[in-house]
Amino acid sequence: MEFFQDLEKVLRQNIREYGMFIALFVIMAIFTYTTEGVFISSRNISNLLNQTGYIAVLAVGMTLVIVIRHIDLSVGFLAGFLGAVAAIALVFWKLPVWMVIPMVLGMGVIAGLITAFPVAQLKIPSFVASLAGWLIYRGALLLSTMGTGTIIIPDDAFNAIGNGFIPDIPGLDFFLPKVHKLTLLLGLLAIVLFIFSEIRSRRKKQEYNFEVLPLEIFILKLVFLSVLVGGITWVLAGYNGLSWTVVIMLIVVAVYHFVTTQTVLGRHIYAVGGNPEAAELSGINVKNITYVVFGSMGLLSALSGILFTSRLQSATTTAGTLFELDAIAAAYVGGVSAAGGVGKVTGSIIGALVMTSLTSGMNLMGIDISLQYIVRGAVLVAAVIFDVTTRTSRK
């Protein structure tokens, strides 16, 4: 059968790209089986995605940091600290939400630029510079919550970011009463847009005689991804629909995917990661790129802090603990290379989903936390080994 030969060939050639999807699929299938379907229930999937949110946005920023051959360890406690700042601004300074959020995001950018300064200007290893940030923001978090302990946030608008769902189209209760119609509609729209853009890019590639997937495989890919998106939409629509967290996550991914794949800035970032010396000689200012990438990391840390604080509806003294390592793990599981220049934003999101799926699934199975860490460690190392071996064997 030609079809299966093609399929095998395509899978083998693109194993790195599809590997993560397959892994995620397998993990979800296993948990669905072991929990007798609870894992795949609307409620659980909705929860799982909301839990992924604050790690996922960090993983997106971390992807770019690792692509330019750096690391940022400060992001966890920075997120925690900025979450506490948001809480203080809302509760004690009585500032309105529309003012607090831009302020906190701005502070995030500044914090990122501060981390970047010794790295870009003085060539201090980012590991050290951001480790200092880790300590400093941890102290700052403790300091800002010292007098009060946990700060409870009574603001409904703010708390909706981490707990609320998008409203449904009113007046359609006669049709599928228990399903969230707007979510379904958006999902459908996404599938249609996706199929159109895939077909368009395929045509374009054929015009240039670039290699494209065999037609049957292409259709299979479209069907597979449409079913995946459709399935997730259906599952979500069966609970409360899309949450604001998921909407924010999708916007972040869309923006970063666009910037990394379509813009001059994105190209410069990957060039710096791929060969800093060649990039510098090509007229790219490596310092400026370093500032931009760390600044974006700071922005996303602030966003992560807002998502987490809002989800808990309070700022705690330990918020943000180990977020940085979860984000780094997600990026590596998602196929980012420590050698620089390689890694996709979408991959890191899948990586984050893999990691939270593991946690969520094992929680449902009642597996002890100690074993959970061991399993997650094993998955991380397996993913990286897979990544490295498939990369070298391709040549």
Partner: protein
């Protein structure tokens, strides 16, 4: 004649696509100083790597006899054990360790499970006395000058009881006093029965110290000369070194006679704070419109440093001097500014410094001028493919599509991608650093043709090259660089391989 301590017979060593050594035979008598000379790429370093086991037995063909016995080294350790010590151009010392730690690194003096540091320091002091280096063994290597570091390397070799000491261009980075010192030490070691192979480009030095000289050219032994019989002189050595036939054909071009000076550099000096020395001293030259000016010289003579110091100075040299681009006095603080002023620099090591190997052909070609194919920072994918395809056709890059990863292309095609990238910035002044190194003859010819076409269109080219036939075949004028200075300028009518080599080895 004394019996040979070393005999290498019919050594052939191939790399993919290149025969680095072909049927080389080499004999070193016991207790002599034997110099090995030849142009860059003649095979000297390769031969020494075969000898020291860097290229283990089995990766070359031929036979090595040392001390009368057939040797089959599978690594440096084996050759060290046999009594061969090699000191490379780039020193192999650990800067953060002390002198005594370095001398016995990998050869620690033990007492039971631990290192006997007192004995180590005592023995290190002895070794330092042997090489006449008057420093405290507890000094960190980092705090020593290059000349003293060189001596520490020799002390390290002596501590292992070497019978044969190989030095690869030991004086390249040394000043005159340090060089003289080192040569004296080698003479002294000779008195103590240490045989020595010295690779050097400085012919005066060779003549003053050698008992025997072997000349290599293009991976073959050309001749072995005996100094005692008066066979060694500068003329003779140069003749044998450069005797390469000019069998590459260079595409003809009409010379353009323009008096417009597009680039002029006056009294240009550069101090490298990392190395702590001047890499360029008082360099002055000019470039006219439509001209190809060759920069000849040996590796490490400062040609690449000159190009980089002009092209936005990415290494952070401290520069003195003036540069005029089309009559305007300028100084660039970043390659970006140089590009805007119409300069382009095709680097010497395209893999490490020129290309992004993990990206594809089109991404590499457009990298230095992305704004031209972008609207408000968003790349127009169609425009990018079109640009890349235009260059693919016009300079004949052999690739299935422009979406091919550059790392998968052959050396010649990689070089063309590199050139295409810099043509896309539409430069006025193009600097080519070793434009044809490591690429095959056909691709070389194509690169030359492109160069001719560009100067016909009014571009001016600086060509840095270590291949003398290429310099003579392509240039309108030649500058010779030696130890960071311009040691001569020759109009092409007067330039010969001998004259250039004479100026380059001074």
């Amino acid at each position: 004649m004394k019996p040979p301590i070393l005999e290498m017979k019919n050594i052939t060593k191939e790399f993919p696509g290149v025969k680095a050594l072909s049927d080389v035979s080499f004999r070193v008598a016991e207790g002599e100083i034997h110099c090995l000379v030849g142009e860059n790429g003649a095979g000297k370093s390769t031969l020494m790597k075969v000898l020291s086991g860097v290229y283990p037995y089995g990766t070359y063909s031929g036979e090595i006899l040392f001390n009368g016995q057939v040797q089959r080294f599978s690594g440096i350790r084996d050759s060290e054990q046999a009594g061969i010590g090699i000191i490379y151009q780039e020193l192999a010392l650990v800067p953060e360790m002390t002198v005594y730690e370095n001398i016995f690194l990998g050869n620690e003096i033990r007492r039971g499970w631990t290192v006997d540091w007192n004995e180590t320091i005592r023995r290190a002091a002895q070794m330092l006395a042997k090489v006449r280096l008057n420093v405290n063994p507890e000094t960190k290597v980092r705090d020593l000058g290059v000349g003293k570091q060189q001596l520490v390397e020799i002390a390290k070799a002596l501590s292992r009881d070497v019978k044969l000491l190989i030095l690869d261009e030991p004086t390249a980075a040394l000043n005159e006093d340090d060089s003289a010192n080192l040569l004296n030490l080698l003479r002294e070691l000779k008195q103590h029965g240490v045989t020595c192979i010295l690779i050097s480009h400085k012919l005066k030095e060779v003549i003053s110290i050698a008992d025997t000289v072997t000349v290599l050219r293009d991976g073959k032994t050309i001749c072995t000369l005996d100094a005692k019989k008066g066979e060694v002189s500068e003329q003779v050595l140069i003749k044998h070194m450069v005797g390469r036939e000019i069998n590459n054909i260079y595409p003809p071009r009409e010379r353009i006679r323009s008096d417009e000076v597009v680039l002029e550099v006056r009294n240009w000096s550069a101090y490298d704070p990392k190395l702590g020395r001047n890499v360029l001293k008082d360099v002055s030259f000019h470039l006219k419109r439509g001209e190809i000016v060759g920069f000849a010289g040996l590796m490490g003579s400062g040609r690449t440093e000159l190009a980089r110091s002009l092209f936005g100075n990415p290494d952070g040299y401290e520069i003195r001097g003036e540069m005029y681009v089309r009559g305007q006095k300028l100084r660039f603080g970043h390659p970006q500014e140089a590009i805007r002023a119409g300069m382009a620099y095709v680097t010497e090591d395209r893999k490490a410094k020129g290309l992004i190997l993990i990206q594809d052909v089109k991404q590499n070609i457009t990298l230095a001028n992305l704004n031209e194919i972008a609207n408000h920072g968003v790349i127009d994918g169609n425009a990018e493919v079109k640009v890349a395809n235009d260059y693919r056709e016009s300079i004949n890059i052999k690739t299935p599509t422009v979406a091919q990863i550059v790392g998968n292309l052959s050396g010649g095609n990689q070089q063309k991608v590199s050139v295409a990238k810099w043509l896309f910035v539409r430069p006025d002044i193009l600097i080519l650093d070793e434009p044809t190194r490591g690429i095959d003859v056909g691709a070389k010819y194509e690169i030359y043709t492109i160069m001719n076409r560009l100067v016909q269109q009014g571009m001016s080219i600086i060509m840095i090259s270590s291949e003398l036939p290429e310099v003579l075949g392509m240039s309108d004028r030649v500058y010779i660089v030696s130890s960071g200075r311009i040691s001569g300028e020759l109009p092409i009518e007067e330039a010969t391989q001998e004259k250039i080599m004479h100026l380059a080895t001074n």
